[in-house]
């Protein structure tokens, strides 16, 4: 290759040709049939997307070096239809893709269906404006190609799940026992608006990581180890942080409620109330009106 290609675009256009050539050589793009000009164009697009217009050359070069260049070249060469690239891609990622699909669906046939559907998108069976649309063109090399494939699979799985729930037929609903679905619960009594305001204020003031931990644990029900893996810290760290955030949130909400004119006792009662139970008369439901025995007794009495 000539080594004189320059990146197009407002940011990357200023990168010296020698730096582009260095990146090109490092990516082994030539091995999968990608020309230096084509590779420079791809880098230019990605840099323009992620870097501000006034970025320095050194920043742009550093950014490009941080990309998964070899995997980027492979993905884009596949998208461009180079046969050698597809051979490599299938050799390296075919099994990984199926494994990832299996770990997502936890069932073989669904996994194969999910992975095959992604393969079709990766290959590009649809055309737009006369051009084959290939999903691999969206890979930018920020993370690993394998990680991107897994994330794309997960997105596809969630979309399918949502579509399926939206399009489920009446027969399927009946088969699933929908005709026996429970009646809608009575409308819940709204919690005190001061409590809602105070909680929203406190949650908004939390750091993103603290909110993430709270939501992952208390909303999504994820185990500590999984949250720890996502954030790249140890399980014990998450445990400590969760304890601390829970305590801090409670204290701050109390403070906010006091600031909003509640007495301490009122604030404590408001916090102790389970909003889901507000409308439920627990005592009334537990006490039996006719005084009948709660359990069946032998002998028919």
């Amino acid at each position: 290759m000539s080594g004189t290609a320059q990146m197009p675009g407002p940011v990357a256009g200023r990168i010296r040709a020698s730096a582009v050539a260095d990146l090109y050589q490092h990516s082994h793009a030539a091995d999968v049939g990608l020309s230096e000009q084509e590779f420079a164009r791809i880098l230019g697009e990605i840099a323009a997307k992620h870097l501000p217009a006034g970025a320095k050359e050194s920043d742009a070069v550093g950014f490009c070096r941080g990309l998964r260049l070899e995997e980027l070249a492979l993905a884009r060469a596949c998208a461009a239809g180079h046969e050698r690239a597809w051979e490599l891609f299938l050799t390296r990622y075919r099994e990984k893709l199926y494994d990832a699909a299996r770990s997502i669906t936890r069932e073989d046939s669904s996994a194969r269906e999910l992975a095959d559907s992604l393969y079709a998108d990766l290959y590009g069976t649809e055309t737009r404006e006369g051009r084959r649309t290939c999903k691999l063109n969206y890979y930018t090399g920020r993370g690993s190609l394998e990680g991107w494939l897994r994330a794309t699979l997960a997105q596809e799985y969630i979309n399918r799940y949502r579509r399926r729930h939206r399009d489920v037929s009446l027969e399927e609903k009946t088969e699933a026992g929908a005709q026996f679905a429970a009646a809608d619960p009575p409308p819940q009594q709204a919690p005190d608006p001061r409590l809602v305001e105070a909680t929203d204020t406190v949650l908004a003031a939390l750091a993103a990581e603290e909110r993430f931990i709270l939501a992952s644990y208390h909303l999504d029900g994820r185990p500590l180890a999984e949250i720890a893996r996502t954030l790249g810290v140890h399980e014990s760290t998450i445990s400590r942080k969760l304890e601390k955030v829970a305590r801090v949130v409670r204290e701050r909400i109390m403070d906010e409620l006091l600031r909003r004119g509640m007495s301490r006792r009122q604030a404590e009662e408001a916090l102790a109330t389970d909003v889901r139970d507000v409308a439920v008369d627990v005592t009334g439901r537990l006490v039996q009106k006719d005084g009948a025995s709660a359990f069946y007794r032998k002998g028919g009495d």
Binding site: G66, G143, L153, A208, E209, L219, R250
Partner: protein
Amino acid sequence: MAEVPKIVSERLRSQAAAGEHPDANLLSAFSERALSEQERAQVLDHLSRCAECREVVALSALPQVDEERLVAAGRGSAGASRSWWRSPIVHWSALTAAALVVLIAVGERMRLRQENTASAPAIARYEPAEKQIASAPATVPAPPQQKQSQRLAETARPPRRAQAFNAPKPIGAVSGGKLASGDRVATGSATGASAGIGGHNLPPPAVLPMKPHANADAASTTTDGPAFESANEQAQAKAAAPAPSARAKQSVGVSAAAAAPALQTEGAPLSQGRSASFTTRAFLGPRWSVSDSGALQHSFDGGRSWKEVAVAEGVSFRAVAVVVVSDVWAGGSGGALFHSADGGEHWARVRVQVNDRTPSGDIVRIEFADAQNGVVTTSTGETWRTPDAGLTWRWQ
């Protein structure tokens, strides 16, 4: 775990995600910690409000390799297949039986010793631990130069702990020793995988000298092989004698404890003529983590308590990986990477380098498929691979 008021869960659920969803590139880069701080903060903020994207991140995560599998991998390739003898019941039963055998052997040995030496002076009844260890046969005979350096190193070292860790000895040999109360002696946690490292006869790699850590009193009679130089070993060799041979590597003991599940023995200090009571319990190796402040720490009680491990000054650790129980890698600020082949007793700094190029950021992830093949990821998204346990690297 502390509960939050229910209103908090309700309000968290009702939070709307801000802006557009990050694409698969950003989500996967987030999971792999390949984003800049600013980008990471933005993605994290979105994730904290968007259950759907949290679901994508969770679903796309790699399955966790648990500790049990790591330990099993260290015991040999046979551990790869699940079979009846790997069930927890069989596993723990075997360990319990082994512990019982050890206890019986220890008791019997002490009884015999007392009988045989009843007329001898009391001082002869209990050999110091050092003597016993020194007399214990090494499974790998050390070359003359190594033996010399071992002797030189021994003159400068006071500790029993490292000797007990490294020197192969019959289980229970420590029973006559003078361990301080609470002293822990791991009678072996090295595995065949780490022994393999020491078995190579390769030229020394790029190694940075390193200050001895706080536990520098622990002598280095075993190392990870010729691949890395331990700073502790250097310091001891210098203290003992300036001869270059004192820096020679020793592989004694690396294979001594191979394949056996480590047994941790705790003993009360013994005085002459007193009977000793020992508790021996199964020990599958420490757990490792990095604290919030960037210190490397390990736990010997399944994570209930953690103790910081001093490796090198000025390095803030961000990642730690255990290949097998004895084979530990830790990395952090400035691309610093350290390796211990003896379960964290000694550390050697490993230079990650190709020509003049070194990692551009902090090491944030370390993954080793086996003792040889590893991948190190930096905060700037660089990936460095080694096919030979850190001897050579390839930048990606």
